[in-house]
């Protein structure tokens, strides 16, 4: 994951993310002010008193906070349109991710979000091998090919040419399996299926928050699981990551392990070597709790 473009280009601390938004907005403000004063100079003679006054009051650049609100508003639209088109979950997620990243690099004052909504979905379809020709895409979205293609290059460049996204959905499937492995006999499969579906919805909502910039996909998944069933998730995390000596193993758990061991041997799957050092239980738990707060 540390080699992935998602980690290298699109992971931030909250401070870095805010600074990025401030910088992007500031750059746009400068160019808007320049265009405004040029406009005033060119049209100085024709402008009435009233118009000059209106210009000063109304034609003011949006602030960074207002940009974030507008981008989030349109991000929900991108998600809605992509879902309405019955695109696969991963394609919807990629569309949304592309759109939100685009506005970390560009200001709404430079490129109106309305003009980029379809382009992000169209590029996401291509990138996720869900190819739809631009003509049939235009028909589906009641748009025109020129408008869809107009900003495609700009979008790709603003994305720093990073198209491969890791979304929290696959990790959800992974944890769904690993929980069964570690908590064998303690979880009801039907119930797990319900948890799975609910978590998918929570993940889809989480993609609209800044959690995707602060946490890794699996951490977001575990936060969604925690929201769905705290007891089960904590039990799983303790069993998986809490160093053994701290945990008072009950009789049944010891038998369970022996049974598992036999099963695993039969499976001749590789021994579970626990690199205790690599994942610190307390750090992981605090991360997931913070991520949960962010998502809520």
């Amino acid at each position: 994951y540390r080699h992935s473009s998602q980690y290298r280009f699109w992971s931030f601390t909250p401070e870095q993310l805010e600074q990025k938004r401030i910088d992007t907005n500031a750059q746009a403000v400068v160019s808007v002010e320049e265009r405004l004063s040029a406009f005033r100079d060119e049209n100085n003679a024709d402008l009435t008193e009233e118009e000059v006054k209106t210009l000063l009051e109304k034609a003011v650049p949006v602030t960074m906070e207002e940009e974030v609100k507008l981008v989030n508003f349109y991000a929900k639209k991108v998600q809605g349109i992509a879902q309405h088109m019955n695109l696969p979950t991963e394609v919807v997620a990629t569309s949304l991710t592309f759109f939100r990243r685009f506005y970390l690099e560009n200001s709404v004052m430079d490129i109106d979000p309305k003009t980029i909504v379809h382009t992000t979905i169209f590029l996401a379809c291509k990138s996720e091998n869900y190819f739809i020709s631009v003509d049939s895409f235009a028909k589906k979205t009641k748009s025109v090919r020129e408008a869809i293609l107009k900003h495609e290059f700009k979008l790709l460049e603003s994305l720093k040419f990073s198209l491969l996204n890791h979304h929290p959905y696959r990790p959800l499937h992974g944890f769904f399996l690993d929980i069964q492995n570690l908590l064998t006999g303690k979880v009801d499969i039907k119930y797990m299926g319900q948890i799975y579906e609910n978590c998918k919805k929570r993940i889809t909502e989480a993609l609209l928050t800044d959690a995707i910039y602060f946490y890794t996909p699996p951490q977001i998944t575990l936060a969604a699981l925690l929201l769905e069933d705290e007891a089960l998730t904590l039990k799983y995390l303790e069993t998986k990551f809490k160093p053994k000596e701290e945990e008072a193993e009950t009789e049944t758990e010891v038998d369970e392990k022996k049974k598992n061991k036999k099963v695993e041997d039969k499976d001749n799957s590789p021994k579970e070597d626990k690199p205790e050092s690599s994942i610190n239980y307390d750090v992981l738990l605090s991360l997931i709790l913070a991520c949960k707060e962010k998502i809520i």
Partner: protein, 298 residues
Amino acid sequence: EYTKEKKVGEGTYAVVYLGTKQSTGRKIAIKEIKTSEFKDGLDMSAIREVKYLQEIQHVNVIELVDIFMAYDNLNLVLEFLPTDLEVIIKDKNILFTPADIKSWMLMTLRGVYHCHRNFIMHRDLKPNNLLLSPDGQIKVADFGLARAVPSPHESLTSNVVTRWYRAPELLFGANHYTSAIDIWSVGIIFAELMLRIPYLPGQNDLEQMDVTFRALGTPTDRDWPEVSTFSLYNKLQIYPPPSRDELRKRFIAASENALNFMCNMLTMNPVKRWTAAQCLESEYFKEIPPPSDPSSIK
């Protein structure tokens, strides 16, 4: 920062130039993606190259040095790789040894393994996509047909991989194949390195099936469950698999381990076909001669 000094190639969707990175003097190749021709905006091959090369950093995969836009064209700056395995196989003036072949196979499989453990299928492995750096390193290149391993229920097109290197499941039109198709291609490349001529050169897709099964035997439900459910299966000529002796005669220079290595990569049933990891851990790489030091290969 970059110059385009000499045009060295032109494909359907790109023109390739040799150039120099000004700040370091490093020789580079620039793949200029033509964009005017494509009615659907950026071409899928360009998107795939960009998407996967951005994620892969490995000594045996071509390095994407930089990407930039210029005059509405997308330019991929790649490391400069002067030749490829196809040139070497064809040029009879170039002599190479079993140790050289072993070295090339080792490097190729390391590159392919790195793609597969990142869940990326290359889907067009062949000698002229295995480029060589000035210090002899093999580099897997051309990710224009690559794709991430799909979600399990997704359907994939079987129309991938250059015909002579295409796995039997693709010839049958399978839509739920796995990265095993890349291993088949590597097996065919290995055979071609030993023979110095293409091993299974079919003139068209149907003949490709005939050439493949005549050489390696027609698969049956016994060794490949449900293979008879492919619609193309009924039109097949049934050939027996070659005896071990026939294979020995065909690949005179190959040791027993080399033959095992090849046969496991060319196993018909994709489920039983070796993975890249199994290939890398095979006896073939442990027996003498050891693989040549890449920089020493002429």
